[in-house]
């Protein structure tokens, strides 16, 4: 059942599918209920689709968020990232981080790094299309992580962060990206990190331009 859900590239259900997939090695009754609930949700919204409006802007924009120690089993954090071209959601991901973060800033910093790696690839691809992107904004809601990207200072609580996450800092200083702060309520990647209540879930879904295709067509 999870296998066929994984083929469904629908950004809003991805987090739930991933969480369920973590328990596949030893599934219990409650895990089955969680999978069933995803299906019930699909019964409610079979027509949701991505909407790519024709608009004036065509710039890359990245959102990155994390849920600190979101996994109850291993206490690992979850990265949620998504990338827009103008108002069109073109890429998204939700991933349990490989290492355990010691602070929220560290978890966010790892997510920003992952988001940037994807942006870098997209920037290359867009160059093939003849679009040049400079100083790509990357929105993150954690001041600590932004400061970490700006300053090459080691604090006692951040000095353990692995070297490979610091490639971000290099690109920030070259001006390839601009890691910027965004208020939590405008943080669209929130939906990829943790379960949300109905009103917030629907609001974010709308912001991601995932709409019911029957409403417009």
């Amino acid at each position: 059942m999870i296998g066929s859900l994984l083929y469904l590239s629908r950004p809003n259900i991805m987090l739930s599918v991933c969480i369920c997939a973590r328990f596949q090695a030893n599934p219990k009754e409650c895990h089955l209920m969680a999978v069933k609930r995803i299906f019930w949700y699909l019964v409610f919204t079979p027509n949701l689709s991505l909407w790519y409006p024709k608009g004036s802007t065509f710039t890359l924009l990245g959102y990155s968020d994390s849920d600190y120690a979101g996994c109850r089993v291993e206490r690992k954090s979850t990265s949620g990232i998504c990338q827009f071209l103008g108002r069109s959601l073109v890429s998204w991901s939700s991933k349990k981080q490989n290492s355990i973060a010691l602070s929220t800033a560290e978890a966010e910093y790892v997510a920003v790094g992952a988001c940037y790696a994807q942006l870098l690839w997209m920037k290359q691809t867009l160059r093939d299309f003849g679009c040049e992107q400079r100083k790509i904004p990357l929105l993150c809601d954690n001041e600590g992580a932004i400061k970490l990207a700006d300053n090459p200072i080691n604090h006692s609580r951040t000095k353990h962060i692995d070297i490979h996450h610091h490639f971000l800092r290099d690109h920030q200083s070259k001006g390839d990206i601009a890691v910027q702060h965004v208020r939590t309520e405008f943080q669209l990647a929130d939906i990829f990190t943790k379960p949300l209540d109905e009103s917030r879930f629907c609001a974010l879904r709308r912001e991601l331009n995932i709409v019911d295709s029957r409403n417009i067509a």
Binding site: M1, S4, Y7, L8, S9, R10, L15, I19, R22, F23, P27, K28, E29, C30, H31, M33, A34, K36, R37, I38, F39, W40, Y41, L42, V43, F44, P46, L48, S49, L50, W51, Y52, P53, K54, G55, F58, R72, L85, G86, S88, L89, S91, Q118, W121, M122, Q124, T125, R127, D128, F129, G130, K194, P195, L196, D197, E198, F201, S213, I216, A217
Partner: protein, 235 residues
């Protein structure tokens, strides 16, 4: 729905030995994101995308290795039952068939003056003055579009001349995605896949629910908690 039946001669690729019968087998395919970027680009630049596919694509690729195949059972030559065939071009089932096809298509497109994508080797572009022509390759499916509609005509002409093509037309259905290109933008949905899947698991008549997960009660390894199950059933 079955529209037609197909039969295909297939080589036993599993008997091939690496280094002897095949070398490189890797063939690039597009990522889903490339496809989304292309759709967003087309939507923004206000041009329509078209698709076509190459009939029995893999049979087009010339082989760089020497490969022999036995005569297919039931079709042996009665005068020379011990003879084998030496292959000039790839057959379905050969390990290098996808790569041979990709190389063949790539060489052809490069000869026609296309540029290969630096980040994505399955993307080919051609720029003339301010117009751009783009095509994205997904094995034998080709999606293309241009800011200048004349290029589309030209492209389908040169492709039909070189390969046997089918199913040309506006992009509507690709890799299970339904695509609607409208005046104000583009829809990408998987409604058909979703409803088919719900039917397959006998869930299509199930009661609908508005959210995916309760905000409290995270899943853990011990999943037999009755209170937790109740939370998942509650709307």
């Amino acid at each position: 729905m079955v529209t037609r039946n197909k039969a295909r001669l297939v080589a036993k690729g599993f008997t091939q030995i690496e280094g002897l019968d095949f070398g490189e087998t890797y063939a690039p395919v597009s990522r889903l994101e490339s496809f989304c970027i292309l759709l967003a680009f087309a939507s923004h630049h206000d041009f329509k995308l078209f698709q076509m596919d190459v009939k029995s694509a893999f049979l087009n690729g010339p082989l760089s290795e020497t490969v022999y195949v036995e005569q297919p059972p039931g079709f042996e030559d009665p005068h020379h039952p011990d003879h084998v065939y030496k292959l000039d071009k790839a057959l379905y089932g050969l390990k290098q068939a996808p790569r041979a096809w990709y190389d063949c298509l790539k060489d052809f497109l490069l000869k026609q003056g296309f540029e290969i994508g630096k980040a994505d080797p399955a993307l080919f572009t051609r720029k003339v003055n301010n117009d751009i022509f783009i095509c994205q390759i997904y094995v034998d499916d080709i999606i293309f579009g241009s800011t200048n509609v004349d290029f589309n005509e030209e492209f389908s002409t040169i492709m039909t001349k070189r390969f046997e093509m089918s199913m040309m037309g506006e992009l509507t259905y690709f890799l299970g995605f339904q695509i609607k290109q409208l005046k104000d933008g583009t829809f990408i949905s998987q409604t058909k896949y979703t409803t088919d899947m719900l039917k397959k698991f006998d869930m299509d008549k199930a009661k609908p629910i508005k959210t995916l997960m309760p905000t409290t009660g995270h899943l853990d390894l011990d999943g037999d908690d009755k209170a937790m199950i109740k939370r998942y059933i509650a709307p």
